[in-house]
Amino acid sequence: MKEPKDMREILEILENDATVTADEIAKMLNMTPKAVKSAIKKYEKDGVILKYKTVINKELLHTEDGAEGVRALIEVKVAPERNVGFEHVAERLYHFPEVKSCYLMSGTYDILVIVEGKSLRNVAGFVSEKLSTVDHIRGTATHFILKKYKEDGDILRQPERSKRPAITL
């Protein structure tokens, strides 16, 4: 086996582009395809690699019925429970499929959830009926996202054409 650093590099490459094949990674890192494949298998087995997804720029999908959906950040204040702290409440929240992300936060509130719904009303309904009725939740503040500029390091606009001339010496 090669240095663990190279193994990390496998993850770095895949995190940026999951379509790169094991063969190609092997070439890039000067390893055998077999070693790369087995490293990836192990990462998958251990759950380090959770899954492979595609980054879709929904800002470019303009459908009339608003099928691209709306997203809201919801600040949740929680009265922590003895022994388990925030874990119970967090678990109650993150199992909802509407909840896309869920974080424990420092600061003036405790849990941040990112919720996606078909419409404004849809999200509002989820907050009032489901989220705020969970035990130990003391209050919520909902912020709807109006426009996304950048997400997880990707700028959400059409890729720009390269401005460099095709041949320079």
Binding site: M28, S162, R164, P165, A166, L169
Partner: protein
Amino acid sequence: MQGVMKISKIVENMPPSGIRVFFDLVVGMKDVISLGVGEPDFVTPWHVRESAIYAIEKGYTSYTSNKGLPEFRQAISKYLKHKHGLDYDPEEEILITVGVSEGYDLALRALLNRGDEVLVPEPQYVAYGPIVELVGGKAVYIKTELSEGFKITPREIEKNCGKRTRGLVLNYPNNPTGKSYTRKELLEIARVARKHDLVIISDEIYCDLTYDFEHTSFPSLPGMRERTIYLNGFSKSFAMTGWRVGYACGPKEIIAAMNKVHQYTMLCASIISQMAAMEALKNGEQPVNEMKREYKRRREFVIARLNEIGLACHKPEGAFYAFPSIKSTGLSSMEFAQKLLKEEKVAVVPGTAFGKTCEDHVRMCYASSFENLREAMKRIERFLKRRKQKND
């Protein structure tokens, strides 16, 4: 067609760029994957661009001193000390230039008398020979061999040294071969330089892109500082080609002479570019390292693929070019480039752009996205297979 204006004999006799035709062909074509560029595909890191915007907002729009902003020269002096162990006085031994191109031009103008000779290893970056001729000198080309990893050997240098030989142009890591030199190899060149009293014009613009060993700066070698004109800049390491900012370092007499020409021809480098480059020096190390890592991976990928598909290619030690041999195809480098462009829409640079002796090679720049490189290699593979079938 004879116009009213007669062109100077020197310019008329300068070797015309034989590959102009090819360039024009590429420009007129759509959806080309270009491996023909000589610059990073990254845009300048945002913190650098942002500092230029700030400089403009704050009204930094004037000339600077001829030599460049004093604090910028100080920053370069510190950087060179820290990074390469070089000791240059920011007041008298550093000159900010409009890219290494200007620094190189100034160096030769300050150095040469009519008829003086300069040794230029081939393959060469396109400007080296012509500028020597432009200032009235004579370029003596020395072919470097693939079998030697395109290394310029002391033997070859000595063989070409004559009474009028003033200097040797070194460029490492090299454009287009990617050859770089270890300290040991450089010490051998230094020995010959001393013996034949040569001035070394050392263009180290790709120094940060050395992948397999530490870069050794030529003037850092014992006794070489006094006979080296050190040229460097921001274009390659910091992805700042369009900013046109570089620097020349050397003993104060030569820098003063170069500055004399510089103040008449260029006055100074753009203040905005100088401000931006200062920011690059201050906070640019991380982006540079990230780009380097990325280039290294691309290098490994491209070289492995080229050899796999049947274009023999040595592993370049630095820069971001592959310089494979196309001898097996039986095509001239121009034919290869033209056919590849026409049939598969991949642009590469014919070897002859880098000297008459480079007919067996083409230059492919791997400073391009992985997707581009992957697709380009696929197309080149298809191109080669088709040719092989035709020939069989």
